[in-house]
């Protein structure tokens, strides 16, 4: 948790400006603006259907926003602005290049089942970043140690528990050494007794200063680990502030209602 430095001194890693997303006639995001600074741990909370997951997926362009802008380290994602001021869609390869800077962890883990844990981790650094194999392998080993799964190195995902799979998935995302990590309800499809091990890994990442945006229902985790909590309601930001403010003293009656419904 970074508390000592003033946010304005630190780089903005993710900048979202007036993001809108419409599915058919359903407007899921209605103008979201957000700055995430280096080292920040931002938790996105909200009832189901509030747009948390869609926002996260728009940030790495898995979902193309209907309008609005995303910048990663100041570089526009999914569009480019020409010298004339004209805005056009960016090429697929420029989107791919920026995605390397954004790690993503999914609710369903989404490990590649035809590859071992180790192969899952080295795949992208090796094929996308084209780093030398020896370097990639030693970093992957280090990551597996960090998520305490070195002994499961050569197992296929089908032989791992949900918690183990998710930890491998976190290592896979970290292997690209991204500027920011996105977590989309990382513990929601885990058995209760396996949630702790995944949260443990995330907690240690947060302590090391990893920039993280986390969609979760784990209020305790949000309160303990995040620097900032954003509560979404109907595709708009309802509350935005430090956890002790947003979770423990929410301003609007809607937020009060949300927290009382999930805390009891």
């Amino acid at each position: 948790m970074v508390t000592s430095t003033n946010t304005s001194d630190r780089n903005v890693v993710v900048k979202v400006v007036d993001l809108h997303k419409t599915f058919g006639t359903l407007e899921v995001l209605r103008g979201i603006s957000l700055d995430v600074h280096e080292g920040d741990v931002l938790t996105l909370l909200g009832a189901s259907g509030s747009g948390k997951t869609t926002l996260l997926r728009c940030i790495n362009h898995l979902e193309q926003p209907t309008s609005g802008e995303t910048f990663i380290d100041g570089r526009p994602l999914g569009f480019q602005i020409h010298a004339s001021g004209r805005r056009t869609n960016a090429s697929q390869s420029s989107i791919n290049a920026l995605r390397m800077e954004i790690g993503m962890v999914f609710q369903q883990f989404n490990l590649w089942p035809h590859m071992t844990a180790f192969e899952n981790i080295i795949e992208a650094p090796l094929r996308v970043k084209k780093l030398p194999r020896s370097e990639v392998e030693s970093f992957a080993t280090e990551l597996l140690k960090r998520v305490e799964l070195l002994d499961k190195k050569d197992e296929y995902p089908a032989r791992l528990s949900g918690g183990q799979q998710q930890r491998v998935a976190i290592a896979r995302a970290l292997a690209m050494q991204p500027r920011v990590m996105l977590f989309d309800e990382p513990t929601s499809s885990l058995d209760p007794e396996l949630i702790g091990e995944v949260l443990g890994v995330m907690r240690s990442l947060a302590k090391e200063g990893t920039t993280m945006i986390v969609v979760t229902h784990e209020i305790g985790f949000a309160r303990e680990v995040s620097d900032r909590v954003v509560l979404l309601h109907n595709g708009m930001i309802e509350e935005d502030g430090p956890p002790e403010e947003v979770i423990d003293n929410p301003k609007s009656s809607r937020s009060k209602q949300f927290f009382s419904s999930i805390l009891h």
């Binding site: 995605r99 369903q108 089942p113 795949e123 996308v128 995302a173």
Partner: protein
């Protein structure tokens, strides 16, 4: 008579090769995002999957030749072997296309998203994530279709390609020894197809186990 069997193998080989090529082309078209383009593939696949192979075979043997003869006002005929390979390839291609498409669609969307999220391009995702799994998934169906193609090669005797069945038909009508002759070829084909099926099973099993 027995050399006729080589025709079956020749036709089998050619039909599998051309069928797979057609299948790859049309499954790709079928998965295209453009609706109009997709419709072309859907039409081809629908037409040839639902037409009995024998009808396809006879149609291609007579109709194009007839139309061309009328147009050119001369007697046009096609080599039966060429027509047979073409007609059976078109049929098989439609089945292969559906098998390939189903294989590709069997890969869960989340895995593709996980690949794209790391910055993998579409081509790399296809090569490293989709195809290795799709191939595993489609192998049994693929081998089944190959066996069907082999069975289908016996139809070529009907358009005068001198395969084994054609030879037996001929000899049987001269000698009247239908029982031993037809029982004989039934056994021969049974053993060939049985061998192919066993090999197919052996080939597809070890691929499938480790990941589930």
């Amino acid at each position: 008579m027995l050399p006729g069997l080589w025709y079956n193998f020749l036709v089998f080989f050619l039909v599998v090769v051309f069928g797979v090529v057609l299948g790859l082309i049309f499954s790709t078209i079928r998965l295209n995002t453009n609706i109009a383009v997709r419709a072309i593939a859907a039409f081809y696949i629908g037409l040839f999957r639902n037409a009995p192979e024998y009808i396809t075979l006879v149609w291609f043997l007579y109709v194009p030749a007839l139309v061309l003869s009328k147009l050119l006002e001369s007697n046009v005929t096609f080599e039966p072997l060429v027509v047979a390979v073409m007609a059976l390839s078109l049929s098989a291609g439609a089945f292969y296309a559906e098998i390939f498409r189903a294989g590709i669609l069997s890969v869960p969307k989340g895995q593709i998203e996980a690949a794209r999220a790391t910055g993998m391009s579409r081509t790399l995702t296809l090569r490293r994530i989709i195809l290795p799994q799709a191939i595993r998934q489609m192998l049994p169906e693929f081998f089944n279709e190959c066996v069907s193609v082999f069975k289908g090669t016996t139809l070529v005797s009907l358009v005068m390609v001198p395969d084994l069945v054609y030879g037996v038909n001929l000899v049987s009508s001269y000698t009247g020894q239908a029982l031993p002759l037809y029982t004989g070829i039934a056994l021969i084909y049974f053993f060939i197809v049985f061998t192919m099926t066993s090999i197919a099973e052996k080939l597809s099993n070890p691929w499938r186990d480790k990941t589930r």
